[in-house]
């Protein structure tokens, strides 16, 4: 005689309790270690309407896996069927149990509905058969995703992934528990259906088969349900220690992000949420230039986060964090939108703390600001001094439109500080920012224009200037649009290289292209915009040697040369330097192309 309880539900219930207890404890600890700014942002925005977009995003990303689907349909289907399918199984199961037992029921009866149904006498609710079939359909949906996941293990190419993540032991065990849940559910329900004839189309059919081969008996039935419950219980208890914690954490992370919280230079509770929200999907591996060109496959986002999270692997965090170009390709690819470069920088900052001193720059104290009232400030940047054609072209452009300017770093450059910050020298970078800010503010310049995307990102995001900051491509685009600068089109056919810091770093993709379309014939390349390839010569990676940088550069060059341009255009002095020696083809900054194509007398 069955009633609403059976011993086999205990592993499941215990698993749920463990999961709940540990999750609440973990999340609580993490939330308490948010830093001051992060707390202030939460307090300020918690009563706003921002939870609405957060709910939508959590649904879209946590359940439908939209961003992954955009990368690869099959991969998206796999993730969606497992996540959304299981979610629906739980929700529809709960509705079904609610309708069947209007007077209430213990919560496990929704999970093990088919087992208890024959003896617990549910009421005759309308559409009971429909629900049974729906549940079977959903189970089939989840199982289809599971098959794909297994298929991906042996052959991942069709799912758009060349390399998949190497998981830790804990993750592999937990995955085994997860993978066994759904086949066990099918088996249990089918045996019950074989005995009692309940359930939907799938399990009744399979139950019939079991019956015909004579294996449907109560003892076997009980064993199956026990195994199913044990699989669930194991999965739930291991979940908080495995990658599957990302299922819940991502929802929290999305909410905090919508509230406006962002990562800081130190590891905080928010970072813990990010570490845990990584699903270890491994999407960050394929696009990484270190993997593509150099076969370095153990430093990408997924392994960096793993080394920070996992106590045994923590000694690897430093060398992993160092070995990265900071090109942000993985940041653009990550479906969870994790701030991988900021987290990487946190590790670098921690490891440079002992040698990060700020006394070294006292020689800058004597540098006097300039009176630039009524002018804009132009900051060429350190690198532009090695590509004087760029700065000369900018001067030609300023003169053509009659713009009065102050060339801030004509003779001496105080570096913007971003190269220091990228390497983890937080205090030293701050000193340089302080000095540059003082110079700019005291000059009373009305706008800041820079030719180097590294400086641009720094001035834009790390300085808090009250005047507009523009990269020269933005500025030229603005001049052209407003009619202040008139350009002619020449017969050059150009491929444009998106510099990492300008494109993925600051989202400037269209302005350079507008300017190039106005002056040349712009060709399309295979990997552009968010997918653009790093030129390999940026300052992010202190470990690569020249030969390795050159290999990365050559891959980017081949991509640019594919549509047979006669000029390579870019918007960064460093990229220009990188490509200049790559081939005989001319490499021009957009400013140079513009300066050569000004129609005389275009000044207003």
């Amino acid at each position: 005689m069955k009633d609403s309880f059976s011993i086999f539900v205990i592993p499941f219930c215990a698993g749920v309790l463990v999961l709940l207890g540990i999750s609440v404890w973990k999340y609580w600890r993490w939330i308490r270690s948010f830093d001051k700014l992060q707390r202030a942002i939460i307090r300020k925005n918690i009563w706003s309407w921002r939870f609405l977009p957060a709910i939508w995003e959590a649904f879209r990303e946590g359940l439908l896996h939209w961003r992954i689907t955009k990368k690869n349909l099959l991969l998206g289907y796999m993730h969606r069927s497992l996540a959304f399918g299981w979610f629906l199984l739980i929700v529809v199961g709960a509705v079904q149990a609610r309708l069947a037992y209007p007077d209430g029921h213990p919560f496990w009866m929704a999970i093990f509905y088919n087992y208890f149904e024959p003896e617990c006498h549910p009421v005759d609710f309308p559409r009971a058969a429909f629900f049974a079939n729906l549940m079977d359909g959903l189970l089939l949906y989840v199982l289809s995703g599971l098959m794909l996941a297994m298929f991906k293990k042996v052959w991942s190419r069709p799912l758009g992934m060349k390399r998949t993540t190497r998981h830790t032991l804990m993750d592999r065990v937990t995955k085994l528990a997860l993978w066994s849940i759904f086949p066990l559910r099918l088996l249990s329900e089918a045996v019950t259906a074989g005995i009692n004839g309940n359930g939907g189309f799938l399990v009744t059919w399979l139950g019939g088969v079991f019956d015909s081969i004579g294996i449907s008996n109560p003892a076997f039935e009980y064993t199956c349900w026990m195994l199913y419950s044990v699989a669930l219980g194991t999965f739930f208890s291991l979940m908080p220690f495995s990658r599957y914690m990302h299922i819940f954490t991502e929802v929290f992370l999305i909410y905090f992000r919508q509230l406006g919280v962002h990562d800081s230079n130190k590891k905080t509770g928010y970072t813990m949420f990010e570490l845990s929200a990584c699903s270890r999907c491994g999407i960050c591996i394929d696009g990484c230039p270190l993997n593509r060109e150099l076969g370095i496959t153990n430093v990408q986002g997924v392994y960096m986060l793993q080394s920070i999270r996992n106590l045994e692997l923590q000694r690897n965090a430093e060398p992993i964090a160092e070995n990265c170009l900071m090109c942000d390709r993985c940041v653009a690819d990550c479906p969870v939108n994790l701030d991988l470069s900021v987290i990487r920088r946190q590790v670098r900052i921690k490891n440079k703390a002992a040698i990060d001193t700020k006394q070294g720059y006292s020689y800058l104290n004597d540098v006097q600001p300039f009176n630039a009232i009524g002018r804009i400030a132009y900051f060429g940047g350190c690198m532009s001094h090695l590509t004087p054609d760029i700065t000369r072209s900018m001067e030609i452009i300023f003169e053509a439109v009659g713009q009065k300017y102050w060339y801030m770093d004509k003779d001496q450059t105080i570096c913007c500080g971003r190269p220091l910050l990228q390497q983890g020298f937080e205090r030293q970078a701050f000193e340089l920012r302080r000095k540059n800010t003082e110079m700019i503010v005291n000059s009373k310049a009305t706008m800041l224009i820079t030719s180097c995307p590294i400086c641009y990102q720094s001035f834009k995001k790390e300085y808090h200037l009250s005047i507009p900051v523009m990269h020269h491509t933005e500025y030229i685009d603005m001049l052209v649009k407003s009619g202040r600068l008139k350009l002619r089109k020449d017969d050059r056919r150009v491929s444009y290289h998106d510099p990492c810091e300008l494109g993925r770093g600051c989202g400037i993709y269209d302005e350079p292209r507008n300017v190039l379309r106005a002056t040349t014939t712009l060709l399309k390349t295979d990997q552009e915009r968010e997918k653009s390839l790093c030129c390999g010569f940026n300052l992010g990676n202190p470990l690569l040697d020249l030969e390795q940088q050159t290999r990365i550069r050559d891959a980017a060059r081949d991509n640019l040369l594919a549509p047979h341009p006669d000029t390579i255009a870019t918007a960064c002095p460093m990229c220009k330097k990188a490509f200049t020696h790559a081939d005989n083809i001319p490499v021009k900054d957009i400013a140079e192309i513009v300066a050569a194509n000004i129609i005389e007398g275009s000044a207003q």
Binding site: P319, N323, C382, L386, C415, P419, D545
Partner: protein, 121 residues
Amino acid sequence: MKNFGFTISTGRSINLDEIREENISKLLEMVPSYKWCIGCGGCTATCSAGAFTNFNIRKIHNSFVRGQYQGLDKELQQCMLCGKCLLVCPRGVNTRSLIVNMRRILAGVEANTFKGKEVIQ
């Protein structure tokens, strides 16, 4: 007068006994490309910090291998890590890495080196 980044060196003596071999081998382990340096001074000529002071990066790494450690760390702190020297060096020496690792060695906080595949269990 125009400052070309070069100054007249003050007189100094090199005491070979002061050289700590392990410092040089550590540096070469961290920055293998340093062995290609020909001491041309290109890095110094272009240096952003050198435009403000007589900071001389070639002199510093020379002093380092000659065992003249006195005051080096303090001098090295003037570098802005801007990377110009890196692009100028005709021998492909990873100058920024050289600077950071000299500082680490002088301060006794060496980097944890990367040991191949041990990252993943």
